[in-house]
Amino acid sequence: MKNILLPILAAFAIPVSVLAISAEDVVRKLEKNTVIKTAWTDGCLLIHDRFGTKKTTFISYSRGADTMLIEFTSVEEEGMKILRTSNEIYLFYPDAEELIRMQGAALKESVLGSDMSYEDMTGDKSLLTSYRATLEGIEEVDGAACYKVNLEAKSSDVPYYREIMWIDKELFIYRQIHKFSRSGKLLKEISINNIRQVSGKNIPFHMVLKDTLKRNSSTEFFINDIKINLHLDPDIFSLEELTW
């Protein structure tokens, strides 16, 4: 990618200092765009690993950036649900008579064997409260010009010390995210494809997540259908509801 970007950057020749926008602004605009009040999604996961590919389908309800209920509909996961609230994750299984709360070290486990961990699903605060943002210029991702924003943790409540986000200049949605360990090793790569507009918001309909420490392994996220800003009964996100 670099060999393409460099000449392009040179062509654009936009030095960072000339940019009228600040890193914080970019992030704020990003969050304004991507955080949705309520949403109903019909989607599926494709999990690729050394033994093959597995498909899982689900329906999810979400509210804001921190609350989400996922109900799995594929046969293999039948009846399993995951509830995510501010900083907790609960798992429901039909044959279990209690909810399983994932916390501590258990959060680092991967969800359904995918490249995503339970920890990756957590995180409620705005990026700016946990990270310091700096703008590193403009780079092209998938033919679209993006702000390259470097995020460095300033509080210790996030798992990834450093993240780099490529945020689309026009749409203010991320096209690519890289997450790093404290010593700077690339741990996760997320790329967004197929961005469509739904009710005025830009939604990624296809996302690819890679755990770079695992080879030959990736997870794809597809949205089949999505409805946003609909009325959702707040009880959906309660623990009681989860046990139904």
């Binding site: 501590g104 404290r182 420490l213 695992k214 080879r215």
Partner: protein
């Protein structure tokens, strides 16, 4: 002769137990450990939360008390290996010991067990790996791998390292699931800011660890509150339980040996005595008093017993020397065993002076005792019967 064997065996068996103790102490737990008071409860999680903030001050203080101390950070993580050069892609949960390459040798003995490669040096991003783990992974010197863990603050962290040495130490637990890293590297990557999770102490070999641990704790208590010192007995609970069992098995074996030896000794003495009945009769005929005779014989047998014991001890000691220093190579046996009893490789004896003393006295006493009864009998017989004795 019998005594020699008794001593030898006793020494060997005790040696096995001591060896195991020693393995434990030398390689795994150290004689005692200084920990943050809250650490022990959650020790299974290997928490970086409960640390010792000012290790230098504590080690200096311990130095004043003449106790060698080695600081360490112990943490958990995952080892991530790649197909090239390892056999397959994989990840393995490991326990990582970050040691100070200079200070660690004051307390532990790892340097002696490096099988391949070399020891760690501060500042290098290298690790030592246990031999059995290396074998399982197909690892060799120079292979790179990644350690996945979390910093003290909770950030996901990776450390890229190379294997610089392989350790084959007699402690199977170490061989199987541990790796070693220089302390300063761990401090940097885990963002410990100088804090460590434990300080390991070396106490004199035969000292009562529990007693010393609590007295040291009191000493440190005033200046360094919030710390506690645990002796190796607490640190390795399962070992203590096992030692109990080994005791009974050992005792049984010793008992059997004892019987055999006792029989041998008394046999010899008895025969010697009966041989001399006629002599005894003669002495009586010549007019010696009974008590004098008895004393004479007892002394004599005591003397023989003494000489025998001394010889036995000498012989036993020589044999002990051999087994303590050279040992018997049992490596071929212990590879696959997962006995909680930490023995691998060479089985050594250990000095057991008490046993020597017991055996010594026992030899003498037995000789004397065995002489006593026949002597009495002889003295009861008529002189002529004695003389006629065949």
């Amino acid at each position: 002769m019998g005594l020699a064997i008794f001593i030898f065996i006793d020494s060997w068996l005790l040696g096995a137990q001591r060896e195991s103790e020693r393995n434990l102490i030398w390689y795994e737990t150290s004689s005692a450990r200084v920990l943050n008071q809250q650490y022990w409860e959650e020790k299974d999680q290997l928490p970086l939360k409960y640390v010792i903030e000012n290790p230098e001050a504590v080690t200096d203080r311990l130095q004043e008390l003449n106790i060698p101390a080695a600081p360490r950070i112990v943490f958990g993580g995952e080892l991530i290996v790649r197909e090239n050069p390892f056999e397959q892609d994989g990840s393995l949960p490991v326990k990582i010991f970050a040691i100070d390459p200079e200070k660690d040798n004051r307390v532990f003995r790892f340097n002696e067990t490096i099988k391949e490669g070399r020891s760690l040096k501060s500042g290098e991003e290298n690790i030592l790996m246990g031999a059995w783990m290396a074998e399982d992974l197909g690892a060799e010197i120079g292979y790179p791998l990644t350690i996945l863990t979390t910093t003290r603050d909770g950030y996901i962290q990776t450390i890229d390292v190379k294997i610089v040495g392989i350790i084959n130490c007699p402690n199977p637990v170490i061989n199987r699931s541990s790796i070693f890293l220089p302390l300063d590297i761990a401090d940097r990557y885990l963002e410990m800011h100088g804090a460590i999770t434990e300080i390991n102490l070396k106490l004199p070999e035969r000292a009562d660890a529990d007693l010393m641990a609590s007295s040291i704790e009191k000493e440190l208590g005033t200046d360094f509150p919030g710390l506690e010192i645990l002796s190796w007995k607490t640190l390795a609970g399962d070992f203590v339980a096992l030692a109990g069992m080994k005791q009974s098995a050992t005792r049984m074996i010793l008992f059997l040996v004892f019987i055999i030896v006792a029989v041998g000794v008394s046999n010899t003495m008895l025969m010697a005595i009966y041989e001399r009945f006629r002599e005894l009769g003669m002495m009586r005929a010549l007019g010696m008093k009974d008590s004098q005779i008895r004393l004479a014989f007892l002394f004599e047998s005591g003397g023989i017993g003494l000489i025998g014991s001394v010889l036995g001890i000498l012989l036993g000691t020589i044999l002990c020397f051999w087994i303590i220093n050279r040992g018997i190579d049992l490596t071929f046996m212990s590879r696959n065993m997962d006995i909680g009893y930490r023995i691998a490789g060479i089985s050594r004896g250990a000095w057991h002076p008490e046993a020597l003393v017991y055996a010594f006295f026992f030899g003498i006493i037995l000789s004397v005792a065995v002489t006593f009864f026949p002597t009495r009998r002889a003295l009861k017989m008529t002189i002529t019967d004695c003389l006629r004795y065949q």
